[in-house]
């Protein structure tokens, strides 16, 4: 059973037995019924008819012959959508669904239209969820995890798992933490003994020096234990976070390309920077203190109770209401911080745009307006920070006041007890000292919660990437193809970046090894999309793409990409020397090969003309290479890579003419003997293509040699005409007009 033919419940199955549905094409359930209420209705589509079975009328399904369906429309609504099947007899079937099923029904609508038109349904095998199936919220990535439905304990467990490789040291650290926390409880007791046993008695039984050396010893032990504890803490913590970052980076490398389009680069980078920082702070500065502070709180409470339980109860009285009040204020503060970060983001966006687009601002003399808009955001940010700070202040001062009250109770009631002879002064002092010691970890726990929430949010964002869809490298059952011949076949391939919005429909193409194909068409028609399917940056939504007669999804991805070369309109070079960049695809290539590739790419001359030659730094840090020079390095990189399949995506369109000539020569050398796809605006670039493929309206409209297409007088002919018309003026003066198409 696929995603589109699911098993019917028994009652429905029997109810509709009288209809012939032995070969259902689609058999899916919805999650809404008329009136936008939740409920499960079933939709069954065969080659001839459509059945809709509502939960409140199982025995009376709505049936409609497919031939009678006049129009299939799929309309998004708030929180869901509706699929209309309109018939001539004004007998419209409406199928309602919630957002979580929107993708599925977009496919269903498309399929019904196709079946009606007598084509195959061509449904995808699976649909990736865009909404959480538990809470129906939009997922951050298709098929990803819902951040609202992740359990906090799961996150904690995963974070703790980072320590497993270092468990010996981690356990030692925990032990030392307990040890130092317990020791830190001792000093107030020693001072109590000093006061009661030495200072307030006329003939001290113990010498002052005994206690003093006890204090000294304690100090020294705590100091050393603490240094070791902190050292372990750092050693273990930073290694764990290093591993987490490495995992994240690995996941980033294997993310499918579409994740880079959807999620902005900035948000991915911020996972590496900000989110891992949050987790780092938590693992190193917060989490280790949970234990020690808990031990201190429990320890002090027991000591206080043991010393004088009435007094202890008295001073601990304000703590429960403080915790309760704290949780109330906490919720309020959350709202403030959320508002604050929204305002901050809005300020930062404006700043980014206005500074980044300063030329436009100046050219349109909008400086004053930009400033005014900035001031508006700036003041909103100020106001919300003042409110947030102040409500925090109120909470802080009120709790502080009540916590402080405890000490005065102790002075008063404890003082009375001393006067009555029931208590010793040292005990009172120790009591007060312990009380102060108690407040600090209590307050810490208040803050800790906010750190923890933020760190978990950061950790979840990181785990989301780590768990996210990754490209299927080393998939079991993949077919190794160390040497492809370069035959490529598109069988009814359809594709859209968003479900329901197909960019390519029914592409059928058969490309022989070594053939050069020119892709032609208007901008936005899907030329780049088509080549993205060959590199498997994306997978076809429907249909099949075959490489050497093997389904591309079964070919080992590493083998496939290893044999595809790619030169784009704007070539990206990495920081590193020119030589490193050329050997990017073959890091072990000897220098002689690098130079040979550079020569073939017409790059050698300009490279050796530089001071540092092949050692010159390129990339963002190096810079100083012109667009044409970068392009030639990219071509050299592709040549050295020696691909079987080559993709040239507008490789020459952003260059001026003399440079282009050199690059065209280089490309001509590169193309020889490889299956090549070339995309170009300028049709003249495609002269040497064996065949031209003209895309229009998402499918292949014309295929043939240049001469054939010109003779056909179709779309290509018109494109050439247009281009000629605009070049004609320029060509008038030249002696050779014949070379212009």
């Amino acid at each position: 059973m696929s995603a589109f033919v699911t098993t019917l419940p028994a009652d429905i199955d029997s109810a509709i037995a009288k209809w012939d549905i032995s070969a259902p094409v689609i058999q899916v359930s919805t999650d809404m019924v008329a009136g936008s209420e939740f409920g499960t209705a079933w939709l069954v589509v065969t080659h001839t008819q459509v059945l809709l079975i509502s939960p409140n009328a199982i025995d009376d399904p709505r049936a409609l012959a497919l031939d009678a369906v006049r129009e299939v429309t799929n309309e998004p609504r708030v929180g869901g959508g509706v699929l209309h099947l309109a018939s001539d007899a004004d007998d419209t079937i409406e199928i309602l669904y919630s957002n979580s099923l929107a993708d599925r029904f977009a496919e269903v609508a498309e399929a019904i239209s196709r079946i009606k038109a007598g084509k195959t349904a061509n449904l995808p095998v699976t649909v990736e969820a865009t909404h959480c199936h538990v809470c129906h919220r939009l997922l951050p990535s298709r098929g990803g995890q819902c951040p609202a439905c992740i359990k906090k304990t799961d996150t904690l467990r995963r974070l703790m798992r980072l320590f497993i490789p270092y468990r010996g040291k981690a356990l030692l650290m925990v032990g030392l933490t307990l040890f130092t926390s317990i020791l830190s409880l001792a000093p107030p007791y020693i001072t109590k003994r000093i006061i009661d046993d030495v200072l307030t008695v006329t003939a001290p039984a113990t010498d002052l020096y005994v206690f003093a050396s006890l204090l000294l010893g304690l100090n020294i032990v705590i100091m050393f234990a603490d240094v070791i504890r902190r050292w372990l803490n750092n050693w273990v913590g930073f290694r764990a976070i290093e591993d987490l970052r490495a995992d994240l980076f690995r996941a980033l490398q294997f993310l499918p390309i579409r994740s880079f389009n959807k999620r902005k680069m900035g948000s991915l980078v911020s996972r590496m920077n900000n989110d891992s920082d949050l987790v780092e702070d938590y693992l190193i500065f917060d989490a280790p203190f949970v234990l020690s502070n808990a031990v201190i709180i429990v320890g002090i409470l027991s000591i206080l109770m043991a010393m004088n339980w009435q007094l202890a109860l008295l001073v601990l009285l304000p703590i429960p209401p403080i915790i309760f009040g704290g949780s109330l204020v906490w919720a309020r503060m959350q709202g403030f911080w959320r508002r604050w970060s929204i305002h901050w983001a809005s300020l930062a966006t404006h700043l980014n745009e206005s500074i980044g687009g300063i030329r436009v601002v100046k050219a349109f003399t909008q400086e004053a307006r930009e400033s005014a808009r900035f001031d508006g955001r700036n003041h909103a940010l100020r106001d919300v920070s003042v409110s947030a700070e102040r409500s925090w202040l109120v909470f802080f001062l009120v709790t502080n006041f009540f916590m402080g009250l405890g000490a005065y109770f102790v002075w008063y009631f404890g003082g009375r007890k001393i006067l009555a002879g029931d208590l010793q002064l040292g005990e009172l002092m120790a009591f007060i000292a312990y009380l102060w010691m108690l407040y600090q970890p209590l307050r810490w726990f208040g803050d800790f919660y906010s750190f923890m929430v933020r760190a978990y949010a950061g950790a979840e964002r990181i785990f989301e990437v780590i768990d996210g869809p990754s490209e299927p490298f080393d998939k079991p059952g993949e077919i190794a193809m160390p040497e492809v011949s370069g035959a490529i076949r598109f069988n009814n391939v359809a594709f859209g970046y968003d479900p329901g919005k197909m960019i390519l429909h029914d592409v059928n193409l058969d490309i022989k090894p070594g053939e050069m194909i020119g892709l032609v068409g208007k901008s936005g028609v899907g030329k780049s999309t088509l080549v993205n399917l060959i590199t498997r940056f994306y997978d076809a939504s429907r249909g099949q793409l075959l490489i050497d007669d093997v389904d591309i999804t079964r070919v080992s991805l590493a083998d496939l990409r290893g044999q595809i070369g790619y030169v784009a309109q704007q070539s990206f070079l990495f920081n590193g020397s020119i030589a490193d960049n050329i050997r990017y695809g073959r890091p072990d290539a000897p220098m002689a090969d690098v130079i040979r590739a550079a020569r073939a790419a017409n790059a050698h001359e300009f490279i050796v003309a530089r001071d540092d030659g092949y050692d010159m730094l390129a990339g963002e840090l190096g810079g100083k290479l012109s667009g044409g020079e970068k392009q030639r390095i990219a071509i050299a990189r592709a040549i050295l890579h020696d691909p079987r399949i080559l993709i040239l995506d507008e490789a020459t369109s952003s260059l001026d003419t003399p440079t282009e000539k050199k690059i065209q020569e280089a490309i001509a050398r590169l193309v020889r003997g490889r299956t090549t796809f070339a995309i170009a605006h300028r049709l003249s670039t495609l002269r040497s293509a064996d065949r031209l493929v003209v895309l229009d309206g998402g499918s292949v409209e014309e295929v043939g040699t240049h001469a054939e297409l010109m003779a056909q007088k179709g779309i290509f002919y018109r494109l050439v005409q247009t281009q000629q018309a605009s070049s004609a003026v320029m060509a008038q003066g030249t002696t050779e007009t014949s070379n212009h198409e």
Binding site: I194, V198, L199, F211, A212, L215, N219, M223, D226, R230, E242, F249, F254, I257, F260, M265, N273, I284, L351, S354, I355, G356, I358, R359, A363, F364, T365, Q366, E370, S371, N378, V386, R390, L397, F401, Y408, G415, L419, S523, G524, G562, I564, Y566, G585, R637, S654, D656, T657, T659, E660, K661, A668, L683, R687, S688, S726, S727, V729, M730, T734
Partner: protein
């Protein structure tokens, strides 16, 4: 025109009198000193300060008096430093050569050994300019060197700067920065005063309780001497505890006032600074932006201003309260027991010094840490930006391996920092512990000897507790202040930069531009010593459409930048309607020029917002009209939300060609008198381009139009084509004239045509 002052500052250092007098001596009539600079290194890498003076005809050197003389010198410096002036005519070549950690200036001479002058890295940029200057003099070219070299290191302390030409955190003038920061508080001086009073009250209230407990212990709980009657002691107990509560209430009130005002004042002052900074950024010239990355400017408005806020909220107030606290406690301690104080206070310098040492160490680690983080981020950003290349070449594993090193480095430095902190805080705890120990030991002794009361001992003990906090704070305050002040300087640097002259009262208004543009002998370079345009003469008549043609980098966009007055010419002048552009009202000038840039930067907002960008308050019919003219209307209404379609950051959601058309509509909505297309159709396919050209032809009637294009066919409608080469107009005329001339333009057309053939031939 700040070149001369810049020159004087950097290329003419103030030399000691001996150097100056010798220079004056050597100076012939009519000669002038062009360069006077000092080196900072001898050939052996030791610090030596030699002086180099360059005049129009001579170069001469003066040795550092500290440099070894005679034989030793011959060995160390070689005979390369001649005492006699070297006539420039005898120099056959001047160049610099990089060495590890510095470099040397080589002056090759005819019939004499080459002169070698050494310098460290911080002077490298300066000496390479000096070499260029000497070369220019030698060849008899105009003396034009770049006076404003970028500094990598601080000029005063030679430390590596955090950003090029940035502020050296170690050399910030703290008092001046403080005064300036304080000036931002001036408008709110009443609140600031209230704040100060509240902090003083808070401090005093914190000092009082130990004195009360002293009384409590000595007079009530463990009375020394004859004990007063029990009910008197009970009453006193009540009074004293009430006193404690009273003081707590006062301090509580003060805290309230303090917090209430701080939160307001901090946010307000930060908002003020941020506003001022942004306003200034908006009106600064593009020259300022050229030298800086967008990221660093944004971080000034976010991080640096944030640091200032932290300082204002957390730093400055504590300076007052902690000082008061320390003084107050010292007085109390000395008053209670001078002898015990003497014992205890010996830990104070220990804590303070240990703090200073540590924070200095930590500062270095912190720098290392941020450098290693920068490396890590760089790797992440790079690999993500180039992800298509990574994937296309199947290099994921290699990238992962390359990430391991910077990742491990971040970890190592973090651990080192952590361990340093661990040692630091443990030692601090230990020292304070020792202090407390001393109190118990010696104080206890004194109590036993009855030279001190128990209450005083306990008060002493409390004060010591209060004492260590502010003490540690003072050990690190310098560091915190330094960082905040460096941030402040970066902010002030922007605020102090001279803005574009929008407000010039003498500027001539130009309400209705005709569109006559005249370049007269214009010379201009982004770097003055490397002119892009030299002696350019060009006249554009109202209503003319001119195509600018030339190789990339030849200065076509520069011409546009000068017309917009994004930059001012170095020599010559540009006149619009007969008035020098520098005398025109800048707003009037830019308001009437429409420009379509190569990179169509759209702002977030709707399509309609973007088209209406230059004309706030434009009506929808106007916007639609502009969109129609730019051939954008059809695709806009094809989007679900039509003119309300949201354009995200940098215009995502629209294709490149669509963004370009929106930016054209934006330019023409303002009905400009001069229209500039800078490669406006480069990212558009042929058919769209043709439609757009049609639209331009309709649009351009009556306007002066300047079009730049690589694709020569785009310029078919130009009434004149101007070919720029070598920084000047090389050819101009109609298309036919230029083709007949068989010059540069002819060649360009030839090449463009030939390109189409190449593939066919090689195949």
């Amino acid at each position: 025109m700040n070149a001369p002052t810049g020159l004087r500052q950097i290329m003419l250092e103030s030399a000691p009198p001996s150097v100056r007098s010798r220079a004056a001596e050597a100076l012939g009539t009519g000669d002038e000193i062009l360069i006077q600079a000092s080196t900072d290194m001898g050939p052996d890498g030791q610090f030596q300060q030699h002086w180099l003076t360059v005049t129009r005809s001579l170069v001469f050197l003066q040795r550092d008096s500290r440099a070894p003389k005679g034989a030793a010198q011959a060995q160390a410096a070689g005979p390369q430093l001649p005492e006699e002036p070297v006539p420039i005519a005898t120099i056959t070549g001047a160049r610099t050569e990089p060495l590890v950690g510095g470099g040397m200036l080589l002056l090759a001479r005819r019939d004499a050994p080459t002169v070698r002058i050494f310098y460290s890295e911080s002077l490298a940029a300066r000496f390479s300019e000096i070499a260029r200057g000497i070369e220019q003099l030698r060849k008899g070219e105009a003396f034009q060197i770049n006076a404003e070299v970028e500094r990598l290191r601080c000029a005063t302390c030679a430390r590596l700067l955090p950003e090029r030409d940035g502020v050296c955190p170690a050399c910030v003038k703290k008092t001046e920065a403080l005064r300036r920061i304080a000036r931002y508080l001036w408008p709110y001086r009443i609140r600031a005063t209230i704040l100060a009073v509240a902090s003083i009250v808070m401090t005093l209230a914190e000092l009082a309780p130990p004195l009360i407990t002293l009384k409590l212990v000595d007079d009530v709980l463990v009375p020394t001497g004859a004990a007063p009657p029990m009910d008197e002691r009970l009453a006193l107990l009540g009074t004293l505890v009430l006193g404690l509560i009273g003081i707590r209430l006062i301090s509580w009130g003060a805290e309230w006032v303090h917090g209430w005002n701080t939160s307001w004042l901090g946010a307000q002052v930060t908002a003020d600074i941020r506003s001022e900074l942004f306003h200034r950024l908006e009106v600064l010239s593009l020259q300022f932006y050229d030298k800086r990355k967008v990221g660093t400017l944004i971080s000034r408005a976010t991080r640096d201003v944030g640091m200032l806020q932290d300082y204002l909220v957390d730093g400055l107030p504590y300076l007052i309260t902690n000082t008061l606290m320390i003084v107050g406690i010292l007085c109390a301690l000395l008053w209670m027991s001078p002898s015990l104080s003497a014992f205890v206070l010996f830990t104070v310098p220990l804590i303070f010094l240990w703090g200073l040492v540590f924070w200095r160490r930590l500062r270095n680690l912190f720098n290392l840490w941020s450098q290693s983080w920068a490396k890590l981020t760089e790797r992440t950003v790079e690999t993500l930006t180039g992800i298509r290349v990574v994937k296309a070449f199947a290099q994921e594993q290699a990238e992962i391996a390359r990430f391991a090193e910077p990742n491990a480095r971040v970890r190592d430095i973090a651990v080192r920092t952590g361990v340093n902190e661990a040692v630091f805080f443990s030692v601090i705890t230990f020292i304070t512990g020792i202090g407390m120990l001393i109190v118990w030991l010696f104080g206890g002794q004194q109590v036993l000897e009855q030279t001190m009361t128990l209450g005083a001992l306990l008060a002493f003990y409390s004060y010591m507790h209060l004492f260590y906090g502010p003490l540690q704070w003072f050990a690190q305050v310098n560091d915190q202040m330094t960082r905040a002040f460096a941030g402040a300087e970066r902010v002030f640097e922007v605020i102090d930069t001279r803005p574009e002259s929008f407000e010039d009262p003498s500027a001539q208004p130009l309400p209705q531009m005709r569109g006559h543009i005249h370049f007269r002998n214009v010379t201009f370079g982004y770097d003055k010593s490397k002119p892009v345009l030299t002696d350019l003469n060009l006249e554009l008549h109202p209503g003319e459409m001119v195509g600018l043609v030339g190789r990339s980098g030849v200065g076509k966009t520069t011409i546009v930048n000068l017309i917009m007055r994004f930059y001012d010419v170095d020599h010559g002048s540009i006149e619009i309607d007969g008035v020098d552009i520098r005398n025109l009202n800048l707003t009037d000038l830019r308001r009437q020029i429409g420009i379509v840039l190569q990179e169509p930067m759209l702002f977030s907002g709707t399509v309609a917002d973007n088209i209406g960008y230059g004309k706030p308050g434009a009506t929808l019919p106007e916007i639609i009209q502009a969109a129609r003219t730019a051939n954008a209307h059809n695709f806009i209404v094809a989007h679900e939300d039509g003119y309300d379609t949201e354009v995200g950051e940098k215009g995502s959601g629209l294709s490149g060609g669509e963004c370009q058309r929106v930016s054209i509509a934006r330019a023409i909505l303002r009905a400009p008198r001069v229209l500039i297309f800078d490669e406006a159709t480069a990212s558009v396919d042929v058919e769209t381009e043709k439609q757009m050209q049609q639209a331009f032809t309709d649009l351009n009637a009556g306007r002066t139009t300047i079009a730049i294009a690589h694709r020569l066919s785009t310029l078919r409608d130009a009434s004149r084509i101007v070919v720029i080469d070598n920084g000047a107009v090389a050819e101009q005329g109609t298309h036919q004239e230029l083709m007949d001339e068989r010059g540069i333009f002819f060649d360009l057309v030839q090449v463009q045509n030939a390109v189409s053939k190449i593939i066919a031939i090689t195949d």
